[in-house]
C-alpha cells in the first residue's frame, strides 16, 4: 500500500564531468590576497540580532527540457523557492527571491555579477542550475557566494531522479546552512507523525509521513485502530510505533517500503513507548505488567526482552544517548514524574531533574549535548532542554499544552505538538534552541506525536 523508492538514487557529484558540454565557466581564482574580509558566518546559538540577508534568484537551465517533474526552467524556480523557504524556516536567514530578483543567465551561475547582488543588501548569494541529463536524471547545481568578498564559498551538484527533485533543493539548502552556520544540515529529512481528525471522544488517528517542510505527505495506516508515538529507525525505512489494533495496545515494527509490520514482542501485556538504539540493533520500550511499568530492551530483529528497570512505579519514555551507552527516561518512583539516567544495561540509575513541577518525555539530542523534555507545572505543558548532567535547564515554549519533543538531525531544532484547550485539537510546531523561532508545521489534518528522521543519505 505504501510506495517508497527502495533505493533513493541521489548522489553527490563533482562538477567537472557531468557538465562537460554546457559546464558553466570555471570559477574565478580566489580573491586577491591582502584584502581578506571577515569570514561570513551565522551564529546559531547566541543571540541572533538579525537574520542574514541572502539572495536566491531563479536557477536557470542550460536548455529547457521536459521531465516527469516538469520543465527544467520551471524546476529552476521551484528549487530556488524551496531553498529560500528552508533557509527562512531556520530563522537565521532573511532570503530574498526568487521572485523579484533579476534573472541569472546560465553562464553567470559560476561567475556572478557581484555588483548587482551586493547592491541588493544581500550578504550571501545562492545560485544554481537545473539540467536534464541524457539518462533521464536531473542535475541540480548549487553555488554559494560571499557578495562582500566577491568569492565563492562552496558548490555542490546533485544528480537525482526527477521525482526526487525536492530532495536536491533541500540538499542545496543544507549545503548553504551548514557552510554559513558551521552546524550540521537538517533540511533533507522527513517526519513521521500521527494525523488526527474527528471528535475529541473518538479521534481517528493515522500514521503519516512527510518531508520536514510538510511536502510529499502520505498516510501509512487507515485509521481503523488508534496509533501512537511512531519513531524512526536509524535506517529511516523502519518505524516503531504503538497500535490498538484488535483492542490490544502493543508496540509494532513497521517497514515503510513493504508496508509489513510485526509485533515487537509477544508478551501478553501492554507494550508502548518504543524507540530504537542509535545503531538500530535494539529497541527499548515500556511494558505494563499488573499496573507496574518498566523499561525493557529487545533486539530489533526480535528475541527475548530484557528488563532494564525494576523500581515500583512508572518507568517509561526511554531514549538512548547518541553513543548508545546511556538511556534517559522518566520515572515517578520518587513520587512525581522526573528525568533519570541509566547505563544501557540498566545500571547506575539516577535522577537528573529537580525543578518545580514534573518532567516527562525526555529525548536525547543526536548531538548528545542536550535532552529535550516536557515540563508540566504552573498550569501549562512546556518544551524544555537540559544538559545530561542536569544543568542548564531552559524552557523554550509557552502554551496550554506542548508535548512530545523530537530533535532535528543536527540537534538544533525541536519539533513537538501543541494541543488546544477545550477542543483538544493538536498540531505540529518547531522551535529552535533560542526559543524565539517558533513555527507551525503544515499538515493536511491535525497532528501529534512527531518524530524527526535522521538526515537522508
Amino acid at each position: 500500500m505504501v510506495r517508497l523508492p527502495a533505493c533513493i538514487a541521489l548522489a553527490l557529484v563533482a562538477f567537472a564531468s557531468p557538465l562537460s558540454a554546457q559546464a558553466p565557466p570555471a570559477p574565478p581564482p580566489a580573491a586577491p590576497a591582502g584584502a581578506e574580509p571577515p569570514p561570513l558566518e551565522v551564529d546559531i546559538v547566541g543571540g541572533i540580532s538579525a537574520p542574514m540577508p541572502i539572495a536566491i534568484p531563479v536557477m536557470p537551465t542550460p536548455a529547457s527540457a521536459s521531465t516527469p517533474a516538469g520543465e527544467t526552467a520551471a524546476l529552476g524556480r521551484q528549487v530556488a523557492e524551496i531553498v529560500a523557504a528552508d533557509l527562512k524556516s531556520s530563522g537565521l536567514f532573511n532570503p530574498s527571491g526568487p521572485g523579484g530578483l533579476p534573472p541569472v543567465a546560465f553562464p553567470q551561475v559560476a561567475a556572478p555579477d557581484f555588483a548587482i547582488w551586493s547592491g541588493t543588501g544581500a550578504q550571501a548569494l545562492v545560485q544554481g542550475f537545473v539540467q536534464a541529463n541524457g539518462d533521464g536524471k536531473l542535475t541540480v547545481g548549487c553555488y554559494l557566494y560571499d557578495t562582500a568578498a566577491k568569492s565563492e564559498l562552496t558548490r555542490q551538484g546533485f544528480v537525482v531522479a526527477p521525482a526526487l527533485w525536492r530532495r536536491a533543493a533541500h540538499k542545496c539548502a543544507d549545503m548553504v546552512y551548514a557552510r554559513l552556520t558551521g552546524e550540521g544540515p537538517y533540511f533533507d529529512s522527513r517526519v513521521v507523525y500521527v494525523s488526527e481528525t474527528g471528535p475529541k471522544s473518538r479521534r481517528i488517528k493515522r500514521l503519516a509521513i512527510m518531508d520536514q517542510d510538510g511536502a510529499s505527505h502520505r498516510f501509512l495506516t487507515n485509521g481503523q485502530a488508534i496509533v501512537l508515538t511512531p519513531r524512526f529507525a536509524p535506517n529511516q525505512q523502519t518505524i516503531v510505533y504503538m497500535s490498538y489494533v484488535g483492542d490490544k495496545p502493543r508496540a509494532y515494527v513497521y517497514d515503510i517500503g513493504s508496508g509489513r509490520q510485526r509485533l515487537l514482542v509477544s508478551q501478553p501485556y501492554m507494550t508502548f513507548a518504543p524507540r530504537f538504539s542509535p545503531d538500530g540493533r535494539w529497541v527499548i520500550f515500556s511494558m505494563s505488567v499488573n499496573g507496574n511499568t518498566d523499561i525493557y530492551r529487545v533486539a530489533a530483529a526480535g528475541g527475548e526482552p530484557q528488563r532494564l528497570t525494576n523500581a515500583p512505579g512508572i518507568d517509561t519514555g526511554g531514549s538512548y544517548s547518541p553513543d548508545g551507552r546511556r538511556i534517559v527516561f522518566e520515572s515517578d518512583r520518587g513520587g512525581s514524574q522526573q528525568l533519570y539516567l541509566m547505563d544501557a544495561d540498566g545500571a547506575n540509575q539516577h535522577r537528573i531533574s529537580f525543578g518545580a513541577g514534573t518532567y516527562a518525555t525526555p529525548v536525547w539530542s543526536p548531538r548528545g549535548d542536550l535532552i529535550a523534555f516536557t515540563r508540566i507545572g504552573g498550569g501549562g505543558f512546556r518544551i524544555g532542554i537540559i544538559a545530561p548532567d542536569g544543568g542548564g535547564e531552559k524552557i523554550l515554549t509557552e502554551a496550554w499544552q506542548d508535548e512530545g519533543p523530537s530533535w532535528s538531525p543536527n540537534g538544533r531544532v525541536i519539533m513537538f505538538f501543541r494541543t488546544a484547550q477545550g477542543s483538544g485539537r493538536a498540531d505540529l510546531w518547531s522551535v529552535d534552541l533560542t526559543g524565539v523561532n517558533e513555527r507551525r508545521i503544515p499538515t493536511p489534518l491535525d497532528g501529534s506525536d512527531p518524530a524527526w528522521s535522521p538526515l537522508l543519505p
Binding site: 501512537l228 495496545p249 501492554m270 515500556s286 499496573g291 516527562a360 508540566i376 494541543t419 484547550q421 483538544g424
Partner: protein, 180 residues
C-alpha cells in the same frame, strides 16, 4: 485531590429504564447489590419504580443491562495522578464483585482512562494502574482474575470533552465493561 462524584447521565438513564422493567422479573435476579443507605447517587432512581411505567416499555435483557441495573455504577473515579480505591469506589466495586460472582460465565474488560492533562505515554501507564487497581480489588473479592482483562486507553478516549476540572474528574476512571 478531591474525588469528584458525578451523576452520570448514561448511568442514570439506564437505571431509569431498568426501574421500569423491574417488575418483569429478569431470569437471573442478581443478589441485592447493597443496603439502601450505601447505594449512592443512583439509589433514588432505582428504588422508586412507582411512576416509571411510562418509560418502561423497553425490555432490557442481556448481561450488560442486568449488570447496570445491579450496580451503582460501572465505573470508579480517581484523583489527579492517583489510582487508589476509596470508600465510595469500594461500594461500587463490591456491588460489581457480587454481580460477577453470581454470573460466573461472564468475562469482563476493565478499562483504565486518564484526563488530558498528562503526557501520552505516562497516561498509558497510569490508565493501566487504574484498570489494575479495580481488577485487583475485584479479585480480592473472589472474582477469578482470568475472567478480567484490563486495557489502558490513556487519554485517548475521554467521555467529558471540556478542559475543566469537572471534565477531567469524569475522565479519570476505571470502567467495568460487561458484554452486551
Amino acid at each position: 485531590m478531591n474525588k469528584t462524584r458525578l451523576s452520570l447521565i448514561a448511568a442514570t438513564a439506564a437505571l431509569a429504564l431498568t426501574a421500569g422493567c423491574a417488575r418483569k422479573a429478569p431470569k437471573n435476579l442478581p443478589p441485592p447489590p447493597m443496603t439502601s443507605g450505601e447505594a449512592g447517587q443512583g439509589s433514588e432512581t432505582g428504588g422508586t419504580g412507582a411512576d416509571a411505567g411510562s418509560v418502561g416499555q423497553t425490555s432490557l435483557t442481556g448481561a450488560r443491562a442486568d449488570f447496570m441495573r445491579a450496580v451503582p455504577s460501572d465505573r470508579i473515579f480517581f484523583g489527579t495522578d492517583e489510582y487508589g480505591i476509596d470508600d465510595q469506589d469500594r461500594r461500587t466495586l463490591d456491588a460489581q464483585a457480587a454481580w460477577l460472582l453470581a454470573h460466573p460465565a461472564i468475562a469482563v474488560t476493565i478499562e483504565g482512562h486518564c484526563d488530558e492533562r498528562g503526557t501520552r505515554e505516562y497516561n498509558l501507564a497510569l490508565g493501566d494502574r487504574r484498570a489494575n487497581a479495580a481488577k485487583n480489588y475485584l479479585a480480592a473479592k473472589g472474582v477469578p482474575a482470568l475472567r478480567m482483562t484490563t486495557i489502558s486507553w490513556g487519554k485517548e478516549k475521554p467521555v467529558a470533552l471540556g478542559s475543566t476540572e469537572d471534565a477531567w474528574a469524569q475522565n479519570r476512571r476505571a470502567v467495568t465493561i460487561v458484554p452486551q
